[in-house]
């Protein structure tokens, strides 16, 4: 008797993403010389560290069935506030960084509270949050503020060697730590399981006695924390604060989460998939740079297209699963979660 290789269907989207990444990286290696190198792979982490961090926060939000559109603006606000406090108020970075992180958490708690307590759709609360944070950036300053602080310059210039001549930046290390922390939180903590339960069926989660209200607010607080941290990482990367930083980055973050196989309807997802999603995103950018003649705006179009393909794939999986479920358990009604209630 032959046994076929069985793949857990839950891991299928991640395998698709992994395959996509390998194919893209492989194509790049064949088409361009100097493309295939460990350093080029590590650069994906260095150049997209902020996106990885945003993606981890966003994954939790989307698994819970919500959405957070404010992350890009929050990143910008975080760069602006750090820059202003360090360069204009001459505070020590050791005070400024915790302060900025706290601000991110507070902003997330505020939005989570509105969403949870007053039952306002997450997308409208966070969309208003997007404009609020962006507007506050301009309140801080309209101009770019460059960092001259020695601490920031030192961190930005730091290179941590890996395998001989290759290196990573502290940003990449922070991003990896956040990914590991996210994986741990989603797999091995009560919080993580509650997030999945809320995304699966919020009503059931409440009936099971899970702390839904507290968890939902915590999810947005964590996303706010991640956005603020991404902003700090971004300042290490660009050594400046600018009110237009991270414009449209919320979509990049959502795109990477979707490409990473997290269901937009909530209830299923994977932090590791999001990391792969960012790597795919980064590879597209590098490919367009290597190609040379294409406008960098093509990245946007390709990402939009990939999101379309992956959401389409999710729909097909869902319909297949729904028809399978219909056969096994008749008349199973599903409560509409807040994120879904926006769907007709």
């Amino acid at each position: 008797m032959t046994r076929r290789l069985r793949i857990d269907p839950r891991n299928l989207p991640i395998l698709v993403t992994l395959g996509l990444f390998i194919v893209m990286f492989g194509l790049g290696s064949i088409a361009f010389t100097n493309f295939f190198s460990l350093q080029n792979f590590l650069n994906l982490f260095i150049n997209n560290a902020y996106l990885i961090i945003l993606g981890v926060g966003m994954t939790f939000v989307i698994i819970s069935g919500g959405i957070d559109l404010s992350v890009g603006s929050m990143l910008a606000l975080s760069t602006m506030v750090s820059a202003s406090l360090v360069e204009k108020s001459h505070l020590s970075p050791l005070i400024v960084i915790p302060l900025v992180l706290l601000m991110g958490v507070a902003f997330g708690v505020f939005m989570g509270y509105l969403i949870q307590t007053f039952n306002i759709p997450p997308f409208i609360v966070t969309l208003a949050g997007l404009y609020l944070a962006r507007g506050l950036c301009y309140v801080v300053s309209i101009d770019t503020i460059a960092f001259t602080d020695p601490f920031y310059r030192a961190v930005a210039g730091l290179r941590i060697p890996v395998f001989g001549e290759n290196f990573v930046s502290p940003n990449a290390v922070i991003a990896i730590i956040i990914v590991i922390a996210g994986l741990f939180m989603s797999r091995f903590t009560k919080f993580g399981r509650t997030v999945f339960a809320i995304g699966g069926n919020e009503q059931s989660a409440v009936l099971m006695g899970l702390p839904v209200a507290r968890t939902k607010i915590s999810i947005y607080a964590f996303s706010g924390f991640c956005s603020a941290l991404a902003g700090i990482v971004f300042t290490f990367f660009t050594l400046s604060g600018y009110a237009l930083d991270g414009k449209g980055m919320e979509l990049d973050a959502i795109a990477t989460v979707v490409i990473g196989g997290t269901l937009l309807t909530g209830g299923a997802g994977n932090i590791f998939g999001t990391l792969l999603g960012v790597l795919v995103y980064g590879t597209i950018q590098v490919l367009i740079v290597f190609q040379g003649t294409l406008n960098s705006w093509w990245t946007r179009i390709v990402i939009g297209f990939l999101v379309f393909v992956f959401v389409l794939m999710q729909r097909i999986f869902e319909t297949a699963r729904a028809s399978a479920a219909k056969k096994s358990t008749p008349a199973q009604s599903k409560k509409v979660s807040p994120a879904e209630s926006t769907a007709p």
Binding site: L132, N295, G304
Partner: protein
């Protein structure tokens, strides 16, 4: 009681009218010459005329958005579609310094509207046929749309010198800005189609309960499809006006943040984000509130970027007012008195 009870929607419109009145009253006292209207070269000039003129694109977007929101949907791609439309018309007219259009103006405008309608159809197809959540479906164009506009214009700002095209955004007819007539035309046509036929009722039915609507014989899928298509067309017209007003197309900034303004206008106008009953007139009042707010902020020499903060706070306030939980809490604060509502 002798007089009929007002519906919730009428109540909300009344509140938005009160808000607009308060805003205008504030300007009457604190902004000098706010209501002054002068006649120069046969045209009316003044802040009030400016509000109508500058508010035209948002009003157009709000008309399309009202129908989308009535079906319990949302279209966040409208800002990008404005950029696409502006980019398309600019590229077809060409940046010829002598002002000779590359293609006839009508052809260029028609093509731009066609492209934006196609963008709307794309959204409509994703929502109605594939069954995506509206926010995600329109998110795709929100991301890719600006990319498409930038590819159209080759990531450059295209300046136009074709004189007749300026009529759309800058011209005056019978002393009033031409764009006002466009808004009025689209509003009247949409109003007639939705209120003199059963289409408006169908749209509301889809928003209240799509399943019940389908079971009662309404083709929900087609309604959804055409609603998004119409929103794309409205965004296209708005794009033409935006492009004509500044006589340039900037793929990066044209229509930037318009989606929030349009959604805000609809919500301020009393149409609930949960779909159902809608009011086009309400949305127009909402758009006027936003434009008046913007003009007021300008009048006080506050950097325009900061107006986003004010708008965001207004969104929060409106959402809270519409939230049952919030109202019951407030009612709880005032004891039994408000329970009756």
């Amino acid at each position: 009681m002798t007089f009929a009870k007002r519906s919730e929607l009428q109540n909300r419109i009344l509140w938005s009218l009160v808000a607009l009145a308060l805003l205008l009253l504030f300007n009457l006292f604190f902004t000098p010459h706010f209501f002054k209207i002068e006649i120069k070269e046969g045209h009316f000039y003044g802040n009030v005329i400016d509000i109508l003129k500058n508010g035209a694109p948002i009003m157009l977007l709000a008309i399309g958005m009202t129908l989308v929101i009535a079906t319990r949907g949302i279209d966040i791609s409208v800002g990008s579609v404005v950029a696409i439309s502006a980019g398309a018309v600019a590229i077809l007219l060409g940046g010829d310094l002598a002002g000779n259009p590359k293609y006839p103006i009508v052809v260029a405008m028609g093509a731009a509207l066609l492209v934006s309608t196609a963008a709307g159809m794309w959204n409509g197809m994703l929502v109605s046929r594939i069954g995506m959540q509206p926010i995600i479906a329109t998110l795709i164009l929100f991301v890719a749309g600006r990319g498409i506009a930038m590819v159209f214009t080759n990531a450059m700002v295209i300046w136009l010198y074709v004189k007749p095209f300026a009529l759309l955004g800058q011209g005056y007819v019978f002393g009033l800005p031409f764009s006002i007539y466009i808004v009025a035309f689209v509003l009247i046509v949409t109003g007639l189609i939705t209120r003199r036929t059963s289409l408006g009722l169908f749209i509301e039915a889809v928003g209240i309960n799509p399943k019940a609507a389908r079971l009662s014989g309404i083709n929900s899928k087609n309604i959804l499809f055409w609603v998004y298509t119409f929103s794309g067309l409205c965004a296209g017209i708005a794009g033409l006006i935006v492009c004509s007003t500044v006589m340039s197309a900037d793929g990066n900034n044209a229509g930037n943040l318009y989606e929030l303004d349009a959604i805000l206008a609809v919500v301020l106008g009393g149409t609930s984000l949960n779909g159902g009953k809608f009011s086009l007139i309400g949305s127009m009042i909402g758009a006027l509130i936003i434009q008046t707010l913007t003009t007021t902020i300008y009048a006080f020499n506050v950097p325009p970027e900061i107006s986003q903060v004010v708008k965001a706070l207004v969104v929060y306030a409106v959402c809270l007012m519409q939230s049952d939980e919030f109202r019951s809490r407030v009612a709880g604060l005032f004891g039994k008195k408000a329970v009756a509502t």
